[in-house]
């Protein structure tokens, strides 16, 4: 969205290369910056920002909605991947452990699962059932759908960090195959959100057909999940 030249590379040890232990991270010159918040700040310091045109109240709203997405969608995705037993056995363990030989794959995925369950317990999500989590996701999508309305982007004509964040999460939910389709069905209930995702995909990703990065990014999602 900022029109910055970027090359996407996939690596198994990406989490370990990152300074904060989390992906994604960018490597620019001799600097490495990870996670969305710091990357946005870094890019802004270099002179590219999507939210310059917003006034103070709109910036406050944007930050609030980004927190809502992080709070609800991200936590729900983590819950579904790591706390729902069926999904864990059939999809997450094989996927997470696939780059490593036995027994390392089982050990690492159990370790990650234990970490995630501890976090869920601390924030009070451990006691939630799958239905409650799906209901929370529905509420969040409802809020996002109401905020988007009939506009092309969340803050009218120009995309902002919020659009990028929402696209990232919704696209993942819509294209990731799980045991059941309940999560993606919740998102598909809101036609303006699916239209939003399709619009961004067409505009920013399919527009660079010859660029291998887009193809590598999109095709790498599917095989990992079989």
């Amino acid at each position: 969205m900022c029109n910055l030249p970027v090359r996407v590379i996939c690596r198994a040890n990406a989490e370990y290369m990152s300074p904060s232990g989390k992906v994604p991270f960018i490597h620019v010159g001799n600097q490495v910056v990870s996670e969305l918040g710091p990357i946005v700040q870094f890019v802004k310091a270099k002179g590219h920002s999507l939210s310059d045109g917003l006034d103070e109240v709109q910036k406050a709203e944007m930050k609030a909605y980004m927190e809502l997405v992080n709070n609800m969608l991200l936590t729900a995705e983590l819950y579904l991947q790591w706390c729902d037993d069926v999904t864990v056995e059939e999809i997450t363990h094989p996927r997470y452990g696939s780059p490593y030989p036995w027994p390392l794959n089982r050990i690492l995925s159990y370790q990650k699962q234990w970490e995630v369950r501890r976090k869920m317990k601390a924030i009070g999500w451990a006691g939630k059932t799958l239905e409650q989590v799906l209901e929370d996701v529905d509420q969040c999508c409802h809020a996002l759908s109401q905020r988007l309305g009939t506009q092309p982007y969340f803050f009218n004509k120009h995309p902002t960090e919020l659009d990028a964040l929402v696209f990232g999460h919704l696209f993942t939910i819509l294209t990731t195959q799980l045991i059941t389709d309940e999560l993606s069905e919740k998102v598909k209930n809101y036609s303006n959100l699916t239209a939003f995702c399709r619009r961004i995909e067409q505009q920013y990703f399919e527009g660079h057909d010859k660029d291998s990065s887009a193809i590598a990014a999109r095709s790498s999602k599917r095989p990992l999940l079989r």
Partner: protein, 312 residues
């Protein structure tokens, strides 16, 4: 709709109906929506064993988390968000998420983890609301849970030490307060002239920071530089809770008196224990009779000398 509803929540102090952010949120919402809820301040009872207050009991239904309690009240037609548009409802959810992510860690830290605050204010206050022997164990447990929560959600690398995490959460909290202040602007409540769910949540989180007198108060000082948020809290207290907005000196005086009283009680208890030990030593046959000083029940440092004399 006429079913009586009873809300159990934590007691209050320093001019607030409750010290617990979630209890305050639910009480404020009940007032805003006009729900006929009788409030029971939980004090010195075994109900605090589970510790997940506030709890709403209506006929046979028991509901425990603030979001669920508010949902229940809305289903009973006590809805403070009736006049909001769909977009405003969405904004409410977003701002509540902002509060929980950015402000709640700092609030938990100020109450439960900052050593001076915890030892001098939070622990004695909560310990006095629990039945003995829970008062010895539960405040520590609540403090550990708060620390756990902060470290698990905010403490990932590259923030390895607690001081770095603290610096980050206070920065986030101050930014959150600034954002709330900008959003509120000069209007009375967040969505016009009538208070809504968002106002209840913001009040629940801000009022404890604003009113409770802690030794370490940098978050409170930052809040006081945002006059519209202070005015917001005071307005709700005077209009809906009919509590006079006392200035800090009488509240401070009350706290000092209460602390002195507690200290006197503690000293008296210890002195009683020492007397009993005295008696049992005198009566036991193995020890030769020796002169034991009589103990005086005075507040202050007298307790230390008898204790040192009796230690073997």
């Amino acid at each position: 709709m006429a079913a009586p509803m009873e809300l159990s929540c934590w007691d209050g102090g320093w001019g607030l109906p409750s010290l617990h952010p979630e209890s305050l949120t639910v009480m404020a919402y009940a007032k805003f929506s006009g729900a006929p809820v009788t409030v029971n301040s939980v004090n010195n009872s075994w109900r605090t064993l589970k510790g997940d207050l506030p709890v709403l009991v209506s006929e046979d239904v028991v509901i425990s988390q603030p979001a669920k309690i508010l949902n229940f009240l809305r289903k009973q037609k006590y809805n403070a968000d009736y006049d909001l548009s769909a977009k405003q409802g969405a904004d409410t959810l977003a701002y509540i998420a902002l509060l929980e992510e950015k402000l709640l860690p700092a609030l938990l830290h100020t109450f439960w983890i900052e050593a001076e605050n915890y030892c001098s204010v939070t622990k004695p206050w909560f310990a006095s609301r629990f039945v003995f022997p829970l008062s010895l164990y539960l405040p520590g447990k609540m403090s550990r849970e708060a620390l756990n929560r902060i470290l698990l959600t905010k403490g990932g690398p590259p923030l390895y030490s607690l001081t770095e995490v603290e610096a980050q959460i206070y920065r986030d909290a101050k930014e959150c307060l600034n954002l709330l202040s900008k959003r509120l602007g000069t209007s009375q409540f967040f969505f016009g002239d009538m208070p809504t769910t968002l106002d209840a949540f913001v009040f629940g989180f801000l009022a404890p920071i604003y009113k409770v007198c802690f030794p370490r108060v940098h978050l409170q000082e930052h809040l006081k530089q945002l006059p519209n948020l202070c005015r917001f809290c005071d307005d709700i207290l005077t209009r809906y809770f009919r509590l006079t907005v006392s200035s800090h000196s009488p509240a401070g005086q009350d706290t000092a008196d209460a602390n002195l009283q507690k200290l006197t009680q503690l000293v008296n208890k210890e002195s009683n224990l020492i007397e009993k030990m005295d008696d049992s030593l005198r009566k036991s046959p193995q020890h030769p009779p020796r002169k034991l000083t009589t103990l005086k029940l005075a507040a202050g440092g007298e307790e230390s000398s008898p204790m040192s004399r009796l230690s073997p």
